[in-house]
């Protein structure tokens, strides 16, 4: 299976991961995910958009995703689009370079 890397554009994960950060995508099951993990997810309202966010909490089989940027307008995340289903999580992101 070929490896998958994820390149982010935008500042919603600043200051932890600035614009242009590169990640390795790790395939994992829902049960292997933890609060605090950075994940690649399918945007619930835009089928062509995939997003990188951090897991803030779990509720049943849904996940609440947030950006790291402390500015409330700096991240489009579960504060805007709500919790997402587990199927929308595409994998865990491990940082390669900032």
């Amino acid at each position: 299976m070929s490896r998958v890397r994820v390149h982010i554009s935008g500042d919603s994960m600043w200051p932890t991961f600035p614009n242009g950060s590169l990640f390795e995508l790790i395939d994992c099951t829902f049960e292997e995910l933890n609060i605090g993990d950075v994940v690649l997810a399918q945007h619930p309202f835009h089928s062509e958009v995939q997003i990188v966010k951090r897991i803030e909490s779990f509720r049943d089989r849904t996940v609440f995703l947030v950006g790291d940027n402390p500015d409330p307008l700096a991240s489009e995340d579960s504060h805007n689009f709500g919790s997402i289903n587990e199927e929308a999580i595409l994998g865990r992101c491990e940082l390669i370079q900032q």
Binding site: R5, H7, D11, M13, D71, P72
Partner: protein, 150 residues
């Protein structure tokens, strides 16, 4: 391992919906109106013929200048506050450490221009808006010259 081919995914880490629709030009136009009305008020001469009619015209003209100055100063402050709180983000402070103070002073100058008829404060407001213009376009990575409409 590094030679292993990989698929690259471009993922979004963008901000909220309004991202990208800001422009300090709105504040600049309002600020110019404040300065223009301030100049008009200071230049308006007392009527040479003192009569009810001439005084009514004089007061009407002065009142209109004052009303527009008041309205545009409030509009300018609103435009600045939207830029300050919505467009500018914490990471922008790294490159522009005077950002908060510049906005604070600019907002104060809007208030000063409302309560006074001060050419000096109207100019200082325009200078502050120019500084904000330069910070804004620097962050956007574009060279946009400071151009006034008046």
């Amino acid at each position: 391992m590094e030679d292993t081919p990989f698929t690259l995914i471009e993922a979004s880490a963008h901000c909220d919906g309004p991202c990208g629709v800001y422009d300090p030009a709105s504040a600049r136009v309002a600020g110019e109106a404040v300065q223009s009305m301030t100049k008009k008020m200071l230049a308006l001469e007392y009527p040479q013929v003192f009569s009810s009619e001439s005084m009514a015209s004089y007061l009407n003209t002065m009142s209109r200048y004052a009303a527009i100055k008041e309205e545009e100063a409030q509009k300018c402050k609103k435009e600045l506050l939207v830029l300050w709180t919505d467009f500018f983000k914490p990471m922008h402070l790294e490159a522009h450490p005077k950002l908060h103070d510049t906005f604070w002073q600019a907002a104060k100058l809007c208030s000063a221009c409302k309560v006074e008829v001060s050419a000096q404060h109207a100019q200082e407001l325009m200078d502050a808006i120019e500084s904000i213009h330069n910070m804004f376009w620097s962050i956007k990575g574009r060279e946009v010259p400071w151009i006034r409409a008046s």
